[in-house]
Each structure stands twice: as structure tokens, then as C-alpha cells.
Symmetry: D2
Subunit: 186 residues, 4 copies
């Protein structure tokens, strides 16, 4: 889905191409239950939800303005299977139906606690994270190594053409690390 | 879907991440009709088909070994809504049900004729192309400019970690240009 | 040389890393004569000049504010072997000592005329261009093909960490095509 | 300098573009003393040495076949100011003239000891490292943070065109992190 389709405000949003790669790596099924932690504008929640009408998405977000945006985007796209959860992970996960999949867009420095809660809930949970800080990258690699879980690490660097008169000028976007782990091994 | 899930042989395959971005840019609907021109292993056909059970995919490919691979992948993933068309575009498109969407993975130097046939069939067709040769990039930009159709141009450069002992070494993949045009303007 | 060392204003400047690659591709000798066409802030002229004290650099630029910046940077770095030429290429090249090397940072749409003048002046001139518009990329590839000159084409995509609290966030810069051709074959 | 100019064998070599960026980040002066630790084929040593005839380069390398290649390349390019040091850093640094600059191409897992020795020798040493393993990236960032030394982190991703008939196909190279620290603040 195109970035400009979403209602945005000033909340940072995963860009279209990285969102597509991340959703693909999640390997969702028609009836999956997905946590979207640090949901931001809700763009990933909404796009994932539209792709699995029989599934459920829980968009966890603690910032007030972002929560409001998720609600607006959910309404705009009639993504009724998105539930907005206002709070911090991992606490906010208590009481939610157990997930089969989880996307980590932002963890507020609590990656370790969150991963522990997730894998405790479901051994075979499929987890995909978007990482932009080099320190978080080291953190997650260290955690994954200690937990002895093989992880796939991919960096995605997108450049997008902007029109300038008759010309297309390529504009670089920020590189994002997409880390994938767990899930069923097919 | 992971690259290693597909039966491959020596036919070149769009890599997982670029395939995800390309399918996302196609903006398929549950009942779309998609031509996949230069279908190769059929990975894009299959992944797109599984995402739209009520839709139809025509995988057009002229190489014998590739056609065989598409058949095998279609069977492996039970993608019954993929039809293999053995032949060259644009001739091979004659007689097919009109498409709503088209993916151009390889055009054998006939980009211009193919685009002409596609847009004649359906003004509002959504077309996404993967380009790796700089000369093809110029070609399609020129065509699109002459047809006065706005195109989005994105380059995607992926690097993937390989395990070497305790370390993850990033290995660069080839950059791919993903060009998107047409379709409904929402 | 670091970007922040140069006096800049609002004139666009080749970034440090791409400048280093471009100067390296020029394969300058201690006594080379370099034209820097579309010299902008003069950063490439100055850096190249400091690396060849016995050589000469002609910084050709038509914009008034850029010309003033080149003069300031030349003075700041005491790059006395840089001569500022206020005007448009290729006309402004008339009367200059013949060059052994040329860097094309901006050609104002006159790539073809400029290349013709340069190669007429010196068959074996070493020419390096920085290209950011896809249309210019096609243009130069076409020209080079018609002139039957082998060209090396490289794209350079740099991301640079920005500090945000305790973290390094990678920020993508715009990809630049660096095209190199001619020169002695060693 | 072009990669193909160097005598190579099977020893991995920093590619031309990353070598140019790395040498640029070193900010060498005409009379600098440079350690090249993990010198490999000696390509960086030789290119740096040719750029500072009044300077000195010590190429530290422990592999026999690489040491032989460095000697051959030094001879080929008449880089008499390169001294080959056969051994492991940091031990092999003992007895060498103190350096003003250091390039870290490979540290055999001893980054911490090496950095300690270098900064003890010269507080204001300018150090540039090439990192390809994500784990080494975390390691050096952690070290640098603990030593309270600001470091610049840049990733460089190069793609190079290969000729295929009439076409240029872009081939991705591996992304390299270039870390720079210390040195005089101008």
C-alpha cells in the first residue's frame, strides 16, 4: 500500500517498500494473530489486517497521537480486525489472545523483556523486527545468539525517484535492517 | 515467501525481498487477473496467486526449462489459479482473458510492443516492471514519458547476512529497479 | 576531506565519500591538468588540487554565488593551483590550457557538446562524471556507446550514522552514479 | 587505483571504491606514518604510500601468501616507502616507529587490544576501520563508546555495471562499514 494513502501526522512511518518486505517475512496465514509492537501510524497493522480477513491484529502503541492515527487509519481502510492497544509492551500484552506472529517496529529499549514474553507465550512464534539503530542491531543479534535461535538478517536500502522537470532524481531513504526469526520451518 | 521454498534449477529468480516489493506495488485485489510476463521459475506468479484465491494468474514464459519449473512450483504450492502460457509476449497474450494487472520480469527486448498491447487491452492496467539493465531503464522511462503516464521508480538494494562462524557478514545482492505505473488512482 | 571543512552556502556539494571515489577514478598524476565542469562549491577542485601541487585545476562554473564560494574555498585551503573560470561549458573551455583529465559534476544539459569538445582536445582524456538523474545516465550511456568508448559505471550509495542519544541511526544519502572513461590504459 | 592493477591471488582485497573512501577518511599528510593492520594484498598500503612519498607505511600481515603478495605489489608499483611486517597485531607493532595514522582492515578478533595499544602510542592517532561483520560493528561501537571517542560511521554500498551484450547490468558488492575516529580536529 502506498504511503500517501495513510493518514500520517508527524509520527514516523515504515516506508511502503520496507513494510512490504516486513509483512512478507512475517509469513502470515489467513487466520494468524499478529501483535504489532510500536505500531506508529498503524500502517503495518492495517496492511497486514487487510491481507488476512480471518485474522486478528493487535496494534500496541503508547503515544497518544499515534494511537489516534491508528484509529483513523483503521477506520479509513475498514480494517475492523485491528484492535488498538494503548500502552507499553511487554505489560500491554497481558490479557491479549496469544499471538502466532509479532512485528517489532519499536521496543522502547525493552527488546529483551519483550522477546522473553513473546517466546514464553509461543515457542514457535514468528517474529520480524525493523531496526534502524546500530546499537539495537547488536542488541538483538546478541539476544538471538544467547537464545540459540537462528535469525535472518537483511538490510534494505531503497531510493525513490523524484521528478525534477523532465528528470528523475534518485533520493536515498534510510537503510533498515529487517530481522526475522522463529515460526514454522516449512 | 522464502526463495528456498521454490523449486529452482538454473533459471534466475526474483529474490524474496524484491518479489515482496513488486507484489505490493501491483496492488492486487482478491479477484484480479494478472499477467506475469517472463515468469521464470513462477515464484512471483505463485506468491501472487496464493494471495488472491479468487483471482487468476497467467504465467507467460518461452523457455522450456522455466515452463517446467513453473508447473512444478504451481503444483508444489497448489496454486491452481496459475495458468502456464508457453510462448513469447506479446503474441502469447492473444486469446487470454483481459488482465487488470501485469508484472514484467523479462520482456526479451520487446518492452514497447508489450506495453502498447497491454494498455490497448486496458487503459487502467496496473503494470509493475523489474529492471536490471541500465539500458532497459532508459528504455522504459522514455516510453513512459512518450505515453505521458506517470511512473514511480524505486531502486531496491538488499544485503543479506551470511553466517561465518559466530559472525554475520553482509552480502550485497544486485540492485533492482522497480517501476510502477497505471492502475486506479485511489 | 570532510564536508564541513568547506564553506558552503546553499550550493549543492558532492558528498565526501562520492568525492573521494570520483577523485580516485580520475587517476590524477602529480602534474595533471584538470577541468572541473560544474564545480559548485569547488570542493572537488580544491581536494584534487591539494593532491597534485604541480598540477593545475580549472573550476568552471556559471552561477555567481557558486563562483564566489569556489574563490573562498580556494583561499581557505590555499589551493593556489585552482583557477576559477566563470562561464558555461563548453564555451568557457576555449582558451584554457588543454586538459589531461575532466570531472563532470554538472553539464547543464550539454553533455554531448562537452564530451565532443573534450575528446577533440585530447583523445586520451580521462573523464569522470557524477550522475544523479536517470535521464542523464541514459544520455551518457548512449553517447559513450555511439563513440565506442568503454565506460565503467558504478553506483555509490552511502549511509551515515547520526547520533540520537546513545544510538547511531543510519541515514541514507542519495545514490550517485560515477561514470569513468578514457585515459591511459595501464 | 583499479583493482585489476594489483597482483591478487586468492587473498580478499578491499575494493577500489571502498579503498578510496577509506584513504580519504585517513586524512593522511605528506609525511604521515601509517600502520595498515591486516594488509591483505597490500592494495591500501601501496595506494596510500604512493600518495605520500615523504611518508611511511607499515603493512602488518600474518598470512604467508598475503605477505608475499604485498611484497609483489610494493615492487610492481615501486612503493619503496612500504615496509612489510610479518606478524600479528598488536605484538607486531612493537619496535615500529610510532604511527600518526592507522587503517584496520582485519584485526583477527583483537580489536580491543589493538585500539588500546594504538591510542596509548598516540592519543591523537587517526584510525579508520573497515568492518564487514555485524558483530565487529557492535564491538567497535561499544569500545569507542567506552573510550568516549566520537566516531563517524558510514556504510558504503557499491554496485558495478557488468557488460552483457549491449547492456549494463548492475552487480551489487558487499556493503562495508567505514568507521573513522581520532586525529586532529581541524
Amino acid at each position: 500500500m502506498r504511503d500517501e494513502w495513510f493518514i500520517r501526522g508527524k509520527v514516523p512511518m515504515t516506508k511502503s517498500e520496507v513494510r512490504a518486505v516486513s509483512i512478507s517475512k512475517l509469513e502470515l496465514k489467513p487466520d494468524s494473530v499478529l501483535y504489532d509492537i510500536g505500531a506508529g501510524t498503524g500502517s503495518l497493522s492495517v496492511e497486514a489486517a487487510l491481507g488476512m480477513p480471518a485474522g486478528q491484529v493487535f496494534a500496541i502503541e503508547h503515544k497518544d497521537d499515534a494511537v489516534e492515527l491508528i484509529r483513523q487509519n483503521r477506520e479509513k481502510f475498514r480494517a475492523d480486525n485491528v484492535t488498538v492497544v494503548h500502552g507499553h509492551a511487554p505489560e500491554a500484552l497481558l490479557g491479549l489472545p496469544p499471538a502466532t506472529h509479532c512485528f517489532l517496529g519499536g521496543t522502547g529499549g525493552k527488546m529483551e523483556e519483550i522477546l522473553a514474553v513473546l517466546f514464553k507465550q509461543n515457542h514457535a512464534m514468528r517474529i520480524v523486527a525493523n531496526i534502524i539503530a546500530l546499537e539495537s542491531l547488536s542488541g538483538i543479534l546478541e539476544l538471538v545468539k544467547n537464545m540459540d535461535i537462528p535469525a535472518e538478517v537483511v538490510s534494505v536500502q531503497v531510493a525513490k525517484a523524484e521528478r525534477a522537470g523532465n528528470c528523475h532524481l534518485m533520493k536515498g531513504q534510510n537503510p533498515v535492517y529487517v530481522i526475522s526469526m522463529g515460526g514454522e520451518t516449512t
